[in-house]
């Protein structure tokens, strides 16, 4: 019974999930307090009517910080994905379509990049470049771009041989038209699934790196960084530990769920 | 005294009947051919006999009696004991008759172990004998993986496995459809020899009339889940009564009668 409900309403489900992300990005407009406003008189207050989530060790309203942090964390992740797609998709399509030596060399380079786990690449790069969100973005883009080029390329390669493409060529469609009308839908489908699944991973990456001290620097509200700076106060103010963590978990969960639903709809293997 | 009696059997698929009014009687040592186009329900009928129906299908009406045992209410365990020992199967897809990454000998050994408590050497002897009966080099095949054998060899190996324990009924579901005609002829010869040797009944399923003509004792014609005509080979093939049988016969290319009589 659940299965049936799932399939007929999967589109609505996706809609809701993506709306969730939209909300996260725009929510800070609703923040009751300035997330950066320090108020030493109101430190470490428990959650109450005035401060939904309480305040942190510098008296900043946690609720506002969480909302702002959502924008930072999720916004940055989406930005990273955007850049990766901008680089990866055209490159992959070109490489798959053109083939030949360019393709082979590109693949060798990407194989070399992908040999490193993405976390290690991100951490080392951002380490060498120094802390800061900009460096973090660069580091993650470098870590992730390869897999998209690969995915797009393999989609193009597998579709290129199929008969309907041959038909289009025979019918006189230009290369550009073929790409746009016939290849692009497949590519977009696969890429979309991977991107949604990756969104969760990138969010976790950003949070983890910020927790270690790379990436977001105080006073920027970022969920991982917030967990880092509140660590000494966890014992007395446990909400400082729970709330940012749950925020991260929940957001990643939504993204994983969306990715799963998308994958089921598109029936992409692996 | 019949070995297998199927009486007014009906098989449902998710509440819809897909096989109805099936009546089959086969005696010990008889070659019974079930003929029909694809989708006529022949394989489903065959699966039902051994309790191999998938989860969405079940016997909704009728009886199956095998060797004086009522089959319709047997437990899973009882079916499991029967399969391989009293009722054996040979399938069309010989590639998937064997588990790909286990040696053939080991799979044969496993099967004998499942049904008896013979020693390792006794089991090996039985397996070797069966392989020789199907004209395969026993030692080599016993120690090979499935992908190391050709199609015809693999199909003969699965026949060997099926007859190792002297089953009373061998159900061969389109065993030669996926083979080229020469290999197919060879495989059929092997089956016929086996039948002579151990005197088992054979339920032979095919869509090819020529094969029915050559080997059967009894022929039943199936169409859209029902048996439309049954009779001895001579009756069905030379004096068909049902219009569908006539259709089938007219569609098959035949040699002129004189040549045909010389060959058979």
């Amino acid at each position: 019974m659940f299965r049936q409900m799932y399939w007929t309403h999967s589109r609505t489900l996706l809609f809701i999930l993506f709306a969730f992300f939209l909300v996260i990005l725009t929510a800070p407009l609703l923040a009751p307090y300035d997330p950066l406003q320090i108020n030493m008189n109101e430190r470490l207050l428990k959650p109450s009517a005035e401060h939904f989530f309480g305040t942190d060790y510098l008296g900043r309203d946690l609720f506002s910080r969480i909302l702002a942090g959502g924008q930072v964390t999720v916004g940055t992740s989406i930005l990273v994905l955007g850049i990766v797609l901008l680089i990866g998709v055209p490159l992959g399509m070109f490489s798959g379509f053109v083939g030949g030596r360019f393709d082979r060399y590109l693949m060798r380079i990407i194989d070399a990049f992908l040999a490193f786990p993405d976390f290690i690449v991100a951490i080392v790069l951002s380490g060498i470049l120094g802390p800061g969100m900009l460096n973090l973005i660069f580091a993650i883009v470098v870590a992730k771009w390869g897999s998209y080029v690969r995915l797009v390329r393999s989609t193009v390669l597998s579709e290129k041989e199929k008969d309907y493409i041959l038909m289009a060529v025979v019918n006189g469609l230009s290369t550009f038209q073929i790409i746009r009308k016939h290849l692009l839908p497949h590519v977009v489908g696969n890429v979309f699934v991977l991107a949604t699944l990756d969104l969760g991973k990138i969010i976790l990456l950003i949070a983890s790196l910020s927790y270690i001290g790379l990436g977001a620097q105080p006073p920027t509200p970022e969920w991982g960084a917030m967990l880092n700076e509140s660590t000494p106060y966890f014992h007395t103010s446990p909400y400082l530990m729970f709330i940012p963590g749950i925020a991260i978990m929940f957001t990643v969960l939504v993204s994983n769920l969306a990715g799963d639903v998308l994958r089921d709809r598109f029936d992409v293997k692996g | 005294m019949s070995l297998l009696t199927i009486d007014q059997m009906q098989i449902n698929f998710r509440n819809k009947p897909i096989v109805e009014n099936v009546n089959i009687t086969a005696r010990k040592g008889e070659w019974f051919t079930l003929i029909g186009e694809s989708g006529s329900g022949k394989s489903i009928t065959a699966s039902a006999i051994g309790g191999l129906l998938p989860k969405e299908m079940w016997i909704a009406a009728g009886h199956i009696q095998f060797d004086n045992k009522d089959m319709t209410h047997l437990s899973k365990k009882e079916f499991q004991n029967l399969r391989g020992k009293e009722i054996s199967y040979v399938f069309q897809d010989y590639q998937s008759s064997f588990t790909p990454f286990i040696k053939i000998g080991k799979q044969m050994d496993e099967m004998i172990q499942a049904h008896s408590s013979l020693t390792k050497n006794e089991r090996k002897e039985i397996a070797f004998q069966a392989l020789e009966d199907v004209q395969l080099p026993a030692k080599r095949v016993y120690n090979s993986y499935p992908f190391q054998l050709s199609g015809g060899q693999l199909q003969r190996a699965s026949i060997a496995m099926a007859i190792m324990l002297n089953p009373k009924l061998l159900i061969a579901d389109e065993p030669t459809t996926a083979l080229d005609s020469m290999t197919a002829a060879h495989v059929l010869e092997v089956i016929a020899n086996i039948k002579e040797k151990i005197n088992c009944a054979i339920l032979f399923i095919t869509h090819d009339l020529r094969l029915a003509r050559k080997y059967s004792d009894t022929v039943a014609v199936m169409k859209k889940g029902e048996i439309v005509e049954t009779g001895t080979k001579t009756n069905v093939i030379h004096h068909p009564r049902h219009p569908y049988t006539k259709q089938l016969l007219s569609a098959a290319p035949t040699l002129p009668n004189k040549m045909h009589e010389v060959i058979t």
Binding site: L253 | S96, E110
Partner: protein
Amino acid sequence: MIQVAKRFIEFIIFLLLLSFISFIFIKLAPGDPVKQMLQVDEVSVTKEQIEALREELKLHEPIYVQYWYWLKRFFEFDLGHSYITKQPVVSELLSRFPATITLTCTSLIVMILISIPLGTLSALYKNKWVDHICRLFALVGSSIPSFWLGLLFIELFAVQLGLLPSMGKGTIQHVILPSLTLGIAMSAVYVRLLRSSLLESLNEDYVKAARARGISEKRIFLFHVFRRSLIPVITIFGMSLGSLISGTVVIEVLFAYPGIGKMVVDAIIRRDYPVIQGYVLFITILIVLINIFVDICCRYLNPEIRLKGVERR
């Protein structure tokens, strides 16, 4: 055997390439390496000392000469000295590596102990409540940040219950919380993988053939289905070692566990480039070796590849 030899040669070429890239990298790193090497506790450094070190490091030589020296030292396992501790990078790595290995192995064990039973149960009881619980676990588990899980564990077990230590190393107790954290976080992914791999195998035709031979369901599952599923799972376990190693970085920092993960993070914060570089080289070589090992295992497990010599890529 030829395959193994080929891989080995590829590996050597890879090492050469790697050494070249990291050499370039170190050259590009900001800051003056000489100054940093000599800087200890704000003691001012004389011009002569700087010049002397430059001579020693041959920094005034043309680039390719410098690379040649670097290459020589690389194959002699001399990766330079830490800017901070002045110890050879290699000895820093080697002294801390066993701790990370311990953590990685115990986490792997935890991961296997969780994901195999859960994945198997999930496949066997497909769509029953057992399956739903396992899949829920998989979904939540792969959404949870590992360091947060660690924080929760610390709060619960170390602080509240005082059962286990929250930092350092030395005894088994020290390894329990970190490996539990890492193991649980990683197993979430594998529960899913195992489940789908098993389900695929259960539907195969040869399973039906085995049933037709009268083999018991239990035996079919253990010997015919499970073993088949093991191959892709082992491949993925092997490839996951990369993630496992990256996972140890965060966990080591969180639990103040003195492995190479913590070492590199400290080095990053203190801009200790030789150590960073040493870590990268070390990890890369490790991962490549692991991949080769996994490859060999898969060849062994899949007789088709072994006997036919098919390239698995």
